[in-house]
């Protein structure tokens, strides 16, 4: 079997999902692509089933919040790993805060179950089709989604501590 390199991977991705991919780059040697929310599950499935690429290991998944990107505030970032080739791939999707629904990956990866629950817990991203989408680390009664940027860690009304002095 031929060796899979980052260049070959980008090439293969472009052949398969050409018009669905944006912003392909390689920060610190890890191929990173952005795709659409509709395309994410077919893409994960195709990468899983591909006889050559074999991206069959979901390393981790997390949410992210960019409040200034209007219409694309929330995101989910998947880290895949092809253990056969030892190549990693990062896939991002972004969507609006008002419509934070993503199809679930639990049908493909059992490990996505708690990762999605954690993402829901932190960011309020709902995963459609998830078998048990409830909070995992925080208490059930909590109403806010604490990792969103509108919840600063320190009390913003404090006057004795001027942020610019502390490089923030």
């Amino acid at each position: 079997m031929a060796e899979l390199t980052n260049e070959l991977l980008v090439q293969a991705l472009q052949e398969k999902f050409g018009d669905q991919l944006f912003d392909i780059h390689e920060p610190y040697g890890l191929v990173t692509v952005t795709t659409t929310r509709e395309n994410i599950i077919p893409m994960l499935q195709a990468l899983y089933d591909d006889a050559f690429l074999q991206f069959q290991f979901l390393t981790t998944m997390c949410g992210i919040h960019y409040p200034d990107n209007k219409g694309q505030e929330l995101g989910v970032i998947y880290h895949l790993h092809s253990l056969v080739h030892n190549i990693r791939l990062r896939i991002k999707i972004f969507f609006s805060e008002d419509d934070a629904v993503v199809p679930t990956a639990t049908n493909l990866y059992a490990t996505a179950n708690w990762m999605e629950r954690e993402t829901f817990d932190f960011y309020g991203i709902r995963f459609e089709g998830h078998p048990n989408l409830i909070r995992i680390l925080n208490v059930e009664e909590m109403e806010a989604f604490p990792m969103r940027k509108e919840f600063p860690l320190e009390d913003q009304t404090r006057e004795d501590k001027i942020n610019t002095f502390f490089g923030r």
Binding site: F57, Y109, A110, W114, F122, V139, P152, G167
Partner: protein, 404 residues
């Protein structure tokens, strides 16, 4: 919801008791080694279903990290897998170094390898000896805890702390290995194999122990990969994935060691894989000690590495850098980086997104425990209650890492 579904469980015709019992295993139970709850449905002694509840010691590290300078995040990583905190510390520093583009000198890398392997030994010792305790063999635990104490003394000699070590700096270590530390490591390398052999003699071929652990909680390689298992638990299932070999960091490519794998992925395999990894870690430490390179123990990166205190009082540049580092005025470059190390329990990953500020924009920890613990219900269904305890301790679930 899952709980409601559970309570309407239908009793099978061949049920022994003709009714199910709900049992709360945890949150505080001496055999769970940490605070997490399992609500088990029992048919007599047999487990019908299990629902884990976690989050009892959730401390929102990912949120806190968004407000902390890079050097203030190491204490947070300590408290994830507190059985092997140096590995977490070093993993975090390597992530930051990758982002900043700092090259670490060889000596610092070797010192890190020594410390990380010592931590791995301590971690595996805890897991395996506690597994012994859970099966009723208390003696082995007492044998090896004396050696674990010696590892903690070595930490103490290197960084001053024992459990939550906060070890290392950007670009290397905070101080060189002292002669006392070197002596203690050498003493450990000399004395430990004897104790380890004793420990293995007690368990490896012990009929009573094997009866308790063999074929208990097996998991196939396919399921393990699908569940995102890494580390000893995955290797016990027969997959030879080890970050130290696949993506060598910190000069691991210089060392000669083997990756033990199991076949069935049951509790006995997990136990044996950890035991063998202890021997391999010893080999690595021995090689690192024998070939410890001369040279600086930290990178020449004055804008990130805190200058020595006596320099701060005499030298203008050192004072400026000292001030800027302590006040957190060093900006990191824009970028995103994922770095993973082989932690005690598996692939410990750090996904760091920097927007060019002084703190991470987003920091996500890939905690191996959190990811593989979700397979626990699947592994315990159909087993006895006492097996569930054994499976739990053989998976080495550390509450701090589970909840972050």
């Amino acid at each position: 919801m899952e709980l409601a579904k559970q309570n309407t469980q239908i009793v099978t015709p061949d049920s022994y008791m003709q009714e199910l019992t709900t049992l709360n295993l945890g949150p505080t139970h001496p055999a769970t080694h940490g605070i997490f709850q399992n609500i088990l449905q029992m048919d007599g002694e047999k487990i019908v279903s299990g629902v884990p509840t976690i989050g009892y010691i959730h401390r929102a590290f990912e949120k806190i990290a968004e407000r902390r300078n890079f050097y203030q995040i190491t204490p947070l990583t300590d408290r994830m897998n507190y059985c092997s905190s140096p590995i977490n510390n070093m993993g975090w520093w390597m992530t930051v170094e990758k982002l900043l583009g700092v090259t670490v000198p060889k000596r610092a890398e070797y010192i890190r390898v020594i410390v990380m392997e010592l931590a791995r030994i301590a971690d595996h010792l805890i897991c395996n000896s506690i597994l012994g305790v859970d099966t009723g063999a208390f003696t082995g635990f007492l044998y090896v805890f004396q050696e674990r104490e010696k590892i903690y003394e070595i930490y103490e000699e290197i960084c001053g702390a024992r459990l939550t070590t906060n070890m290392g700096r950007v670009g290397g270590m905070e101080r060189d290995l002292s002669p006392v530390a070197i002596q203690k490591i050498r003493d450990f390398l000399r004395d430990f194999p004897k104790v380890m052999r004793e420990f293995e003699t007690m368990f490896n071929r012990n009929r009573i122990f094997i009866d308790r652990v063999e074929n208990v909680g097996p998991i196939t390689a396919e399921r393990a990969l699908n569940y995102g298992f890494t580390g000893p638990n995955l290797r016990a299932a027969g997959v030879d994935y080890d970050v130290r070999v696949m993506n060598p960091y910190s000069s691991y490519q210089d060392f000669d060691f083997e990756i033990p794998v199991g076949t069935k992925g049951d509790t006995y395999d997990r136990f044996m894989v950890r035991n063998e990894e202890i021997w391999q870690s010893l080999r690595i430490i021995q090689q690192a000690m024998d070939n410890l390179p001369e040279g600086p123990f930290h990178a020449d990166a004055p804008e990130f590495y805190l200058p020595p205190k006596q320099e701060v009082y005499r030298n203008m540049e050192a004072l400026i850098y000292h001030f800027k580092i302590v006040m957190g005025e060093i900006d990191a470059p824009v970028g995103e980086v994922y770095h993973s190390v082989e932690g005690g329990n598996g692939e410990l990953g750090f996904y760091l997104v920097s927007d060019g500020g002084r703190t991470p924009y987003r920091l996500h920890f890939r905690r191996p425990c959190f990811i593989y613990y979700q397979a626990y219900p699947e592994m315990v269904v159909g087993t006895q209650l006492s097996d569930a305890i054994v499976i739990l301790s053989s998976m080495n679930v550390i509450a701090g890492e589970l909840d972050a």
